[in-house]
Subunit: 341 residues, 2 copies
C-alpha cells in the first residue's frame, strides 16, 4: 500500500471550519492517502498579538509537509495585521495562483454556459509588495513592483499549463498604456515567451477592455495570465459569473511547496449556520490531490461532486428554482457527495 502523504491543514475562520470539515470528509471517503497536521492560524492567533496570524511553531509543519490546505481566514480590521495568505505566498515563493473558473450549465445557473477560463495570477509582486509610505500628512503612497524574473516565471507557467492541459490560447492583461515601465515589462516578457510557444495562440488586452470582454463573453477566453492585483479582482469576477465565487478553488504553486484554498473569503456573517458551499475548498483539495500524486482520488472526488451538482443538490448560493432540486446545508451537501463516490 502506498504511503500516506503528510499535509498541513488550517481550519480558518468564519465559515472555514465548516467547509474544511466537509472537504476532508469527502476526500477521506474517496480514499485520500493523507496524514493531516493541523495548525492554528488566523483570527485567534492575530488577536493573541501575532501580526502574521500564524504561530511560529506552525511554520515547522509547513516546512515539513510542503503542502498546505487552507480554509479562509479573517484578518482583523485595523493596522498591523498582515494577510496570512500573502505571508505564506511570499514566505514560500508561491509565484503562481491558478484559479479555474468553470460553468456547470445546465446544472448550475449561469449567464455564461460555455465558460471555462483559467486565471493564472502572478502571486508575489505588484501592489502586494506591502510597501507603503505616508508621504505627507495627507498623501499615502503604495509601491507596485514588477520584475523580469517574476514575470518570466508566471508567464512561462501559464504557457506550460496551457500546453499540458490541452488549452489553445493564453491571453495577457496589462495596463501598459499607463504603467509603461511595470506593466510594460510584463507585456514585453509575455511577447518574448509567447514566441517560444508557437503551438499556443496568444493575445494581449489592455486590462480595462480585456476585463469588459471577460465579463461579457468569457467563452472567448481560455488561460488568462496577469499581474497579481488584476488577477485578484478578475478571478473573483470570473468565478462569480461562472456560477458563484463559492465554486472556485485555487492552487498557489511554488518550487517544492503548494498551498490550496477556496478563492472566496471567510464570510463571517454566514458562519456556524451550516449554510456555506464547500465546493471552492473542495476544488482546491482536488488540485491538491493531483499535486501529491493521487489523481485517481482527485477524479473520484471531482466526479462525485459533479454528480451532486447534476442531481440538483445545491447550497443556497447556487440554488435556483427550476434548476435546483434540493436546497441543502454544508453537511448535507458533503454527505450527498460522499454518497456518490
Amino acid at each position: 500500500m502506498a504511503q500516506n502523504v503528510p499535509i498541513t491543514v488550517a481550519y480558518g475562520d468564519g465559515i472555514g471550519p465548516e467547509i474544511m470539515n466537509a472537504t476532508l470528509d469527502i476526500i477521506k471517503a474517496a480514499g485520500a492517502r493523507i496524514d493531516i497536521e493541523e495548525i492554528e492560524v488566523g483570527e485567534k492567533v492575530y488577536l493573541r498579538g501575532i501580526s502574521a496570524g500564524i504561530e511560529p511553531s506552525a511554520w515547522d509543519s509547513l516546512a515539513r509537509t510542503k503542502v498546505f490546505l487552507k480554509a479562509p481566514i479573517t484578518t482583523p480590521q485595523g493596522g498591523g495585521y498582515k494577510s496570512l495568505n500573502v505571508t505564506v505566498r511570499t514566505a514560500f515563493s508561491l509565484y503562481a495562483n491558478v484559479r479555474p473558473c468553470v460553468a456547470y450549465y445546465p446544472f448550475v445557473e449561469t449567464k455564461h454556459p460555455n465558460m471555462d477560463v483559467v486565471i493564472v495570477r502572478e502571486n508575489e509582486e505588484d501592489l502586494y509588495s506591502g510597501i507603503e509610505y505616508q508621504q505627507t500628512p495627507t498623501v499615502m503612497e503604495s509601491i507596485k513592483l514588477i520584475s523580469r524574473p517574476g514575470s518570466e516565471k508566471i508567464i512561462r507557467y501559464a504557457f506550460e499549463y496551457a500546453r499540458s492541459n490541452n488549452r489553445k490560447k493564453v491571453t495577457c492583461f496589462v495596463k501598459d498604456n499607463i504603467m509603461k515601465q511595470s506593466d510594460g515589462l510584463f507585456h514585453k516578457v509575455f511577447d518574448e515567451i509567447a514566441a517560444e510557444y508557437p503551438d499556443i495562440e496568444n493575445e494581449t488586452w489592455i486590462v480595462d477592455i480585456g476585463a469588459a470582454k471577460l465579463a461579457d463573453t468569457p467563452e472567448n477566453f481560455d488561460v488568462v495570465v496577469m499581474p497579481n492585483l488584476y488577477g485578484d479582482i478578475l478571478s473573483d469576477v470570473a468565478a462569480q459569473i461562472a456560477g458563484s465565487v463559492g465554486m472556485a478553488g485555487g492552487a498557489n504553486i511554488g518550487d517544492g511547496f503548494a498551498m490550496f484554498e477556496a478563492i472566496h473569503g471567510s464570510a463571517p456573517r454566514r458562519a456556524g449556520q451550516n449554510l456555506a458551499n464547500p465546493s471552492g475548498l473542495l476544488m482546491g483539495a482536488v488540485m491538491m490531490l493531483v499535486h501529491i500524486g493521487q489523481p485517481d482520488v482527485a477524479t473520484k472526488v471531482h466526479n462525485a461532486w459533479l454528480r451532486t451538482l447534476e442531481d440538483g443538490i445545491h447550497t443556497y448560493d447556487i440554488y435556483k428554482e427550476g434548476i435546483s432540486k434540493q436546497k441543502v446545508g454544508t453537511k448535507e451537501f458533503a454527505e450527498a457527495v460522499i454518497a456518490r463516490i
Copy 2:
C-alpha cells in the same frame, strides 16, 4: 436669442472623426447653441514629436472655452508618449470621471436588463501619477498615490451626484486589506463623508468581490465610487455588460472646466469603414449640453437617440437578430437619430 457657447472639439484618431461628425451633426440638428473651436491632438501631433500629443497653441482654446468634447485618441506605442486623456485630466484638475452605464433592454440586448449604474471614478491620482522607476536592471516600480483632499473631493462629488440625481445608494470599492495606507485612507474618508449624507445608503466592498457582484448582479448597484484604476477597469466592465462599451459616455469634471468623451478607445482597426457606434461620444455630448446650460437640447438628443434604439436601428456592435431591425453604419445611425428629433 441666447448666445452660443464656445466649445473646443478634437476629432481624435481611428474611429474618432466618424463618431465626432455623427455626434456634432446630431446635436446641431437638435439646436445646440455652440461655437466650435477645433484643435488638433493625438496621433499626428505625437508623431510630430510632441510627447503630450497636443499642440501648445491648443491649450489656449481649452483655457478659453473650458469645455472640451474629445473623440478617442491613439497614443503611439513606445516610450515617451503621454496619454492625452491623462494630460488634460491632470492639467485642468478634472477630479471626477462620471460614467453612467445603463441597459436599454429590451431594445438593446443585454444579460442585465435592469442595470443602471453610475461609476464615479477618481480621476487624478492612484497609479495614474505616472511616476515610475527602474529600481534595478530587472525591477520596475510604479507609484500609487491616494490623498485625503483628492479622496474627499471625489467622494463628496459622488454623494452630491446621488442626491441631485435622486439616487439611493453610494457604494465604495477599495482593496484596503492589502493597501492599508492608500486604499485605507480612501475607505476612511468614504465613511466620514457618508456620515454627512444620512439620506443616502452607503456600503463598502473589497474591490475583488465587489467587482464580482457588479459583473454578476449590477442591478444591485447605483452610484459606485472608487480610485482611478479600479474605475478605469470597472467602468469598461459595467458599460460592456450593459450593452456595449460603445454606448457609454463620460464626463470629466473639474472646478470650472469639463471634458466629455466616449469611454471607449479609438479602435483603429474599425476606422474609416462607417462601422462605429457614435453613441458613447453622443452620450458624452448630452452630458456636455446639460453642463453648458442647454438641458432642453440634451433632452431632445437623448430622446431621439432612445427612439432610434427602440426602433431597432443598430450599429454592428449592438446588432442582434430578433431584437434589431436594421444594421446601419455610423452615418445612417446619425441620420436616423436626426430624423427622430
